[in-house]
């Protein structure tokens, strides 16, 4: 518990810290690049593709956060099922509501 307990492990620990930061800074940089990408894409007139680009980039960003920051990529199956179940019923809600909204005369 104390900070001075494992004096021998200093080198190993600082190496671990470096890897920790390297991994997460890389993800963070990717997220910022994606943010800029969606910002730029929003100003290019491509009709519906412009709208879609914003959503697709947002989905990509969230995938990064969920898989790497939230560590879903290495999580146990029951946790993955919990995460996916929310998404599945969200998709069902959108799909069945669109069956009404998009098919109205």
């Amino acid at each position: 518990m104390s900070d001075r307990e494992e004096a021998g492990g200093d080198a190993r620990s600082s190496d671990g810290v470096r890897r920790l930061w390297a991994r997460n800074l890389l993800i963070w940089a990717a997220l910022l690049v994606l943010l800029l990408l969606s910002l730029v894409a929003a100003y290019i007139p491509m009709g519906r593709v412009t709208t879609a680009s914003g959503i697709v980039v947002a989905a990509a960003k969230s995938t990064l956060v969920v898989l790497l920051f939230m560590e879903l990529a290495s999580a146990k199956p029951q946790i993955r099922i919990a995460a996916i179940s929310g998404l599945v019923f969200l998709v069902a809600m959108f799909a069945l509501t669109f069956v009404d909204v998009l098919a109205r005369p």
Partner: protein, 557 residues
Amino acid sequence: MTDALLAGELPLPPHPDYLRDGSTVWSWLATTDHKRIAILYAVTITVFFFLGGAAITAVRLELFEPNGWLLTSDTYNKLFSFHGIIMVWFFLVPSIPNTFGNFLLPLMIGAPDVAFPRLNLFSWYLTIAAGAFTVYALVAGGVDTGWTFYTPYSSMFSNTHVFAAAAGVFVVGFASIATGVNFIATTHMLRAPGMTWFRLPLFVWAVYATSLIMVLATPVLAISLLLVIAERVLGLPIFDPARGGDPILFQHLFWFYSHPAVYIMVLPAMGVVSEIIPCFARRRIFGYDFMVYAMLAIAGIGFFVWGHHMFVSGQSALASLVFSFLSFIIAVPSAIKVFNWTASLYRGQISFESPMLYALGFVGLFTTGGLSGLFLASIPVDIHVTDTYFVVAHFHYIMVGGSVSAFFAGLHFWWPKVTGKLYPESWAKFAAILMYAGFNMTFLPQFFAGYLGMPRRYHTYPAEFQIYNVMSSAGAAVLAVAYLLPLGYLGWSLFYGGKAAKNPWGATGLEWTATSPPPPKNFDRQPRVDRGPYDYHAQGMSAGTDPPEMQSARDTR
């Protein structure tokens, strides 16, 4: 060793049971024991049940006469709205999950408590706070939107206390989510060694499936009510057609929750009945695996059928078609369950104790309610009977005939375990039969009145419908007596009832291996499980009347 533990033969160290482990008010209000929280819920929902019942008693009195002799139409609207809101969110939704579920889930899986005991208590306090909002709405003058809060009436026109009522329902939704998260985590993480998924009692499966719906549907209810509140309080125009809003969108959001909510109310009832029928038929449940799949299918498909509430709302014809089809689909797993309960009786040694009477009543009434539901899934019939008493009769058959019957079945079945007391059986049988008769007297005439075109939610009606309404109101009086009777004799048993043994029904299941009432941490030694549930007779043999431990001994290979 394992058999001995299952049969409960180990001498238990003498320490107070959960009821006597601390007697101050604080020891109840600050408890994290799932059994005490179950009692807190039981007291709470009993109060709400009789509040909601009192409101509808006035409504039924009013409907004795066609001309509105007792109430003004405003008061009438407020009373049936209060009845609906209270009965749905403060009785039916928490009834079986939060009382029996809380009490039994850890016991049935061999755990000392639920996964998050403090969250469990917090959920009860949320329920109380929410109830305060809703009762305030009534006391302050009432709310007249009906339990469905349909826009644009609720958001633009009603000048009653919509805010307080909607806020109450909003908050009780969070209690529901908290309980759901807790039960799901408990079922996944706290099962005793050997308690595999397919050895779980069906009641645990039912509560688990219910929790899934609570967690995934309730947030959408929260949003629909939040939008109504935002429109009323902040003037946001989301559902205002004059400013481009879409009032039908409210119905999509509302029914995305409120149709699955029907299964929140009826799945736990199915779980209760699945425990009782094998016990009093001394039979293994027929088709255990399919009972499990059927419950999960009901929970899942229940999310895809909400649009059958909206056939006349102006949604697209395509949507009506799709929702109609999906609504027929969901009858399949429900039918599987009914057939399996019936098949479990075949070649059984059936005895008709009061829990069994209630449970058999459930099967009959649920089937009637379910079949009348198929009428409503069919678009042409639904358009004819929408907003008539046919719909009222249909969902009361499911919710009152089904869920409330099962609630009373469970109450009588587990009462000796919960309180350690025995109740007078002949009174209980009488109440069960009276409830069945009173229920049918009340709601069967409503099918006829509705099919002939009597609309719901009006406080006056053409004189030709009076005969049905008099029958219905007379039945309601019988039903009221049948609901008050258990309050009397169960209350009596608390003080004068005989002491209950560990397992008065000779039932299987870990909860019957604990003492009656159970000790604070449920089990003094971690139970181990080496067989499936409903071990009432050796595999491949017919039913016997021996207690389960003897049956098990014969079964050992």
